[in-house]
Symmetry: C2
Subunit: 301 residues, 2 copies
Amino acid sequence: MESFKVNILGCGSAKPTLRHYPTSQVVDFRGNLFMIDCGEGTQMQLMRMRLKPNRLRHIFISHLHGDHCYGLPGLLSTLGLTGINGHVTVHLPEEGIRLLKPLIDYSTHDLQVEFQPYEYGNNIIYEDKSLIVNTVPLKHRLPCVGFVFREKEKLRHINREMVDFHQVPVAMLPRIKAGEDYVKPDGTIVPNKILTNQADPSRTYAYISDTLPLKAVINEVKGADLLYHEATFLSDMLKRAKETCHTTAKDAAHIASEAGVKQLVIGHFSSRYINEMPLLEEAQSVFPSTVLAREGLILDV
Amino acid sequence: MESFKVNILGCGSAKPTLRHYPTSQVVDFRGNLFMIDCGEGTQMQLMRMRLKPNRLRHIFISHLHGDHCYGLPGLLSTLGLTGINGHVTVHLPEEGIRLLKPLIDYSTHDLQVEFQPYEYGNNIIYEDKSLIVNTVPLKHRLPCVGFVFREKEKLRHINREMVDFHQVPVAMLPRIKAGEDYVKPDGTIVPNKILTNQADPSRTYAYISDTLPLKAVINEVKGADLLYHEATFLSDMLKRAKETCHTTAKDAAHIASEAGVKQLVIGHFSSRYINEMPLLEEAQSVFPSTVLAREGLILDV
């Protein structure tokens, strides 16, 4: 199947540590790179993970806390310096334009940066022939959204033997792949399902950024192949999680379980956890198919 | 002697590498920390070098290229988060207030940040009872200055034996240290130089940021104990150095030599140099007392 991977560049939270970089991920969808969040140091992590900057055309910022966006000026300025000579679109809350654009405009040359503000809510913010990205409204201390990357329905596979047997002309094949039946010169109809095999399944990646655990998210991420959910605290810190509008590992796992996702990856760990195994164990006790995010991790969707 | 040290947090240049962080230094003057420049990732380097954030009260930004200032929002926001509950003054070009203040104000709480713009030129921008900091105008692609940290003249040391012998009252000692003679009850004058020994020498650290090599700098850094001078290129790249308003290792060494400084440290290395020894050798061929900057290096002034 064509590539659909998530690269973890950073999975720490607001207070920096020497164990983690702040939040950033890169979704590799069929060789095109889509960045989600861009904390300080992201450009170094991009280099370290050998992700090709010239394949990066879209950056999605979930909210404007520094640990999710302070790496943006440096990254864009470097993309300009390295002469990728292209065009990058930054999708972000409107307020981000006021905060970040002056600094970015001042230092970023030879790179066209377009700021595409999105509304807080449930909206399609990116679409091409094979991928669709929509926002999921979350509940944090300031406007914050998650992002769902959905592969569009794919074309069916041609059954080479049957196509030859029924002497379907080559020129017809794209229409057969698209689902049409074949009408022979004598008028006989060969149904599409005889000429084709089932399409590959369409895959979904859901990124749920800083938030209180939300029932509404369950519907939005239903059946996802991979769900990233923040899990800043263990459940013995539930009070603190509520105060700071964050989720515990247990609550993240409950959401994964109720949404019936295939795999859960948790991240955005509070700096207080030197050892993160208890976070993993807590989540796995509810949803066994959980992994811990870590810098350098690459997950297949 | 009381501490006066320079900590190198980063010494790379604009294009990031995995070998260096962008420019930042911390001057430790008698336990008070003064930061010079603050490239992306500086807050992590501060942590790595175990420099105490609550001792940091002044940050000096030489110019507004990203590799000298993009770490500022993250550093200040973290200082706020870690609850040092204090007051930090950022000395920077006026333009920097427009570019950085909105972003910093948005995310930095529980920390009072004062922006103190300085004029391009030769000005005193900080002074206390023992230290004075002035700017040195440089010539780069945008307004840029260096900083000279000068220890003020120190008090002479009391010669305990002579003070006892002449029965100088304890209450008089601060005035003796300050240079006064002692007048005995019988009117006899004991000259200060009999009662005291020479003060420790006053030390100077000069930081010369991104610039073409300038004759005018020689006077400004004359006799400094330690000179940091950028040396982005080897002299076979002189043309490129001129185009980008930078200095070669050889030219940096000539300035150190003509200024008669005690030691030179070179930095701001172009990302093209995987091996930096040729930069060191080129500088040492002109000025032997040269060292290479590197992350984690601590130099005594």
